[in-house]
């Protein structure tokens, strides 16, 4: 173990001494104020209890007294109170209020303000004038560079080499050292908590809390409304220390940070609102759902999004129903049942809803043989009873145990509830302290750097598990594996076909086909295997380009969601227009310049290096904001699967952070085409070209086209 003394402790200790010295020399009033706060609090509490219990007393609360500043006077003529903009009495405030509006409405004040704004603009212009020569130099340098052509591949210019040397020897060491110091302080809670407490103390934060509590205890007994203004004044006086001490530029930075947090908060609430609207949309659809649209309308994206929301909704529903059943026997020790069920799951005694039922049934049989508390999860049935009347029917505790166990099984399964014919990443996290686990299903705040560490993926859909009749593999061990969950099938029409495509297939064929596998019967009865406590935990979500591509027998069961229009990406975060304008302007300029430069030169020069670094940072910020808070609206129309009803207009929202964060591959079947392309001995560059703008006879023949062949056969 390394026990060497880290020199950074000395820096931290010196900083602490410096902060303590600040307390003595810069904030001498803080100690006095906290003593006063403590006194006010103590007296108010004493006053409160004496009044509450009717104890005779002579306590006079001091919470309405003005602060005594300085608390420990060193010289008799020291000023007693800091000068603040707020008058110290209500009457004074009323006078100032009237004076404020009088002044507000005067022309002199307005022209004074305009002149002040003019001065601000003048200062800005001065900054621009100072910055302009540097911009001009950069521009001239770049233009000079653009006039010289070279092929010096990846060779650094002399100024760039100097710059990199300076960065490597000055900037990087300082930056590394500062990052190290920051990490050092973060790891040592003692230092930063002490500093935080010291500054909160200097800025009267503790005093404000004490004074608030003191006034609360005083007010609930006295209802002294007249002295509320005094408290506002005292609060302002305490805050004035920080307002006065912190320089304006720091306030501007604090303001910008707060403003940024505020707009991000709005953005998150808008995204969540969109997600809730999506869930409402999905809930309004039947169990089987088909999304249709032409290529590029984001069909697969939409069904993936729906499946992700549906998975969360299933868990939420299971959670909700667990509580409902819990309350039917409020004194039942559900934790004992949950622990036993988890143990059974570990031993693979329980692995689906059917085995949960058997597990619960076995427990019931054992209990009915000999009725003891141990055999009913230590439930005190003699005291709390074994039946529950919900005014519709009377249910036995064992029925509820069976339902509860099934719901808990659905809730606690840690792998995805999605079963799909393409891969979908899910990132819900189960937090478990050994008691009742809780799911974190937050889509919008996940850290993209960490998602791989806790992500799971959808289960591979074995179509044999959806067939009640013939199967591709008759002895398939997974053929009876599906019970509940979200089935996601992209390009369903290509899998199932329609009556025209299936004309050649026969029901009595020896091998499995779409006519003898009874997939449609399964689809019609799918909810039977998945219903727990009268709720079907199953959903089949599919997509196809045209509804007619899927046979009518199955299609009639579902609702068809047509994606009519896919809008551009919008931003949920407000107040971003200025950044958008600047980014659009700068990026446009940079892109033009950069590719002119790339065309002419291959070396690295300082102006281009700096310009590219700055643009890359801005681009990183801009795309980061759009990826986190961007969303796109789909205009959808819903119609019945029988296609004979009205089309209902609706909207569906695709939030970038939720759906594009490594969720699925848009080219989910690309591996097939890669294999196919690998077998090809030729590429696009090797394909024959037409010799002129008119195809020759030989060139037409080379097309291997049905049409051309027909023409040629007719010759």
């Amino acid at each position: 173990m390394d026990r060497r003394f880290d020199y950074r402790h000395i820096i931290c200790i010196l900083t602490t001494i410096g902060f303590l010295a600040c307390g003595v020399f810069v904030f001498p009033a803080a100690l006095g104020r906290i003593i006063e706060g403590g006194r006010d609090f103590g007296l108010s509490v004493a006053y409160y209890f004496c009044e509450v219990f009717g104890i005779p007393h002579t306590i006079t609360p001091t919470v309405n007294n003005l602060p005594q500043i300085p608390f420990f006077p060193s010289t008799p003529d020291e000023p007693s109170m800091p000068v603040t903009p707020l008058p110290n009495t209500w009457d004074g405030f009323k006078v100032s209020w009237t004076a404020y509006w009088r002044l507000w409405a005067t022309m002199d004040n307005f022209t004074g303000y305009l002149s002040y704004l003019g001065n601000v603009l003048f200062t800005l212009c001065e900054v621009l004038v100072i910055a302009l020569p540097f911009v001009l130099i950069l521009y001239i340098c770049l233009n000079r560079y653009l006039k010289k052509q070279n092929n010096d591949y990846d060779k650094d210019s002399r100024p760039l080499r100097c710059f990199k040397w300076l960065v490597a020897h000055f900037y990087t060491p300082v930056k590394t050292w500062l990052i190290g110091l920051y990490g050092f302080i973060r790891e040592r809670k003692g230092y930063w908590v002490t500093w935080l407490c010291l500054w909160l103390f200097y800025f009267n934060a503790f005093t404000i809390v004490l004074e608030f509590l003191a006034f609360y205890f005083y007010f609930v007994m006295s209802f002294d409304v007249l002295n509320i203004y005094r408290q506002v004044y005292k609060l302002f006086l305490d805050l004035w220390t920080a307002i006065d001490f912190i320089p304006v530029w720091v306030w501007v930075i604090i303001g910008l940070i707060v403003f940024d947090k505020f707009r991000k908060k709005i953005a998150y609430s808008r995204l969540r609102h969109c997600e809730m609207r999506n869930r409402g949309f999905i809930n309004a659809r039947p169990i089987v759902l088909m999304v249709c649209g032409t290529m590029g309308k984001k069909k697969t994206t939409a069904i993936t999004d729906m499946a992700l929301s549906q998975e969360v909704m299933f868990r939420d529903k299971a959670f909700e129903k667990i509580l409902e059943n819990d309350l039917k026997f409020p004194s039942f020790p559900w934790i004992n049942l949950e622990n036993e069920l988890k143990r059974a799951m570990e031993y693979h005694e329980v692995y689906n809803l059917a085995t949960v039922k058997i597990w619960a049934h076995k427990k019931a049989v054992r209990w009915f043989k000999t009725q003891t508390r141990e055999k009913i999860f230590n439930y005190d049935y003699e005291r709390y009873g074994l039946i529950y009347d919900d005014k519709l029917k009377v249910v036995d505790v064992w029925e509820i145990i069976e339902i509860y166990a099934q719901l808990y099984f659905i809730y606690i399964i840690q792998s995805s509830l999605l079963i799909a014919n393409y891969s979908v990443r899910v990132d819900n996290v189960l937090a478990d302290l050994g008691n009742f686990p809780m799911w974190n299903s937050e889509f919008f705040k996940s850290d993209s750097r960490l998602i791989d560490s806790y992500s799971r993926h959808a289960h591979i859909l074995d179509f044999d598990s959806l067939r009640l009749g013939r199967k591709i593999i008759e002895n398939n061990p997974q053929k009876d594996g599906f019970e509940f969950g979200v089935i996601v099938i992209t390009e369903i029409g290509k899998e199932r076909g329609n009556s025209l495509e299936l004309q050649e297939k026969k029901k009595k064929d020896d091998t499995a086909n779409q006519k003898n596998d009874l997939f449609n019967s399964w689809l019609k009865m799918v909810r039977h295997s998945a219903t727990v406590d009268n709720f079907p935990f199953v959903r089949v979500i599919t997509d196809e380009q045209r509804p007619e591509s899927w046979g009518a027998d199955a299609r009639d069961l579902c609702e068809i969601v047509h994606i009519r229009e896919s809008g551009g990406t919008c931003l949920a975060m407000p107040f971003f227009s200025l950044a958008e304008l600047l980014y659009g302007w700068l990026f446009g300029k940079f892109a033009g310049l950069y590719y002119r430069y790339r065309f002419v030169r291959s070396d690295n020069t300082l102006p281009m290096y700096l310009l590219k670094a700055v643009t890359a940072k801005i681009h990183y910020y801009y795309t980061g904001i759009y990826n986190r808070f961007g969303f796109c609206t789909l205009r959808v129309q819903v119609e019945s699967g029988t296609q004979d009803g009205q089309l209902d207009e609706n909207k569906y929202f695709l939030m970038s952070k939720k759906i594009y964060s490594k969720r699925f591959s848009t080219d989910c079947f690309s591996d097939f085409f890669t294999e196919k392309a690998l077998r090809s001995p030729v590429g696009i560059d090797d394909l024959r070209e037409y010799a002129t703008e008119k195809a020759t006879f030989d060139e037409l023949q080379a097309q291997n086209s049905y049409f051309i062949n027909d023409l040629l056969n007719g010759l």
Binding site: A99, Y100, L103, Y116, S577
Partner: protein
């Protein structure tokens, strides 16, 4: 159209800031005057 909308939003933002600034400026003026004339 998009750029025009963005410019309009930026101008609106500047206007709102200018209006807020006028309220703050008046308060500061009143405070300075108050200190001078002793309100």
């Amino acid at each position: 159209m998009k750029t025009f909308k963005r410019i309009m939003w930026v101008l609106l933002g500047v206007l709102v800031l200018a209006v807020i600034g006028y309220f703050i400026y008046t308060a500061v003026q009143l405070w300075i005057d108050g200190l001078t004339i002793g309100i």
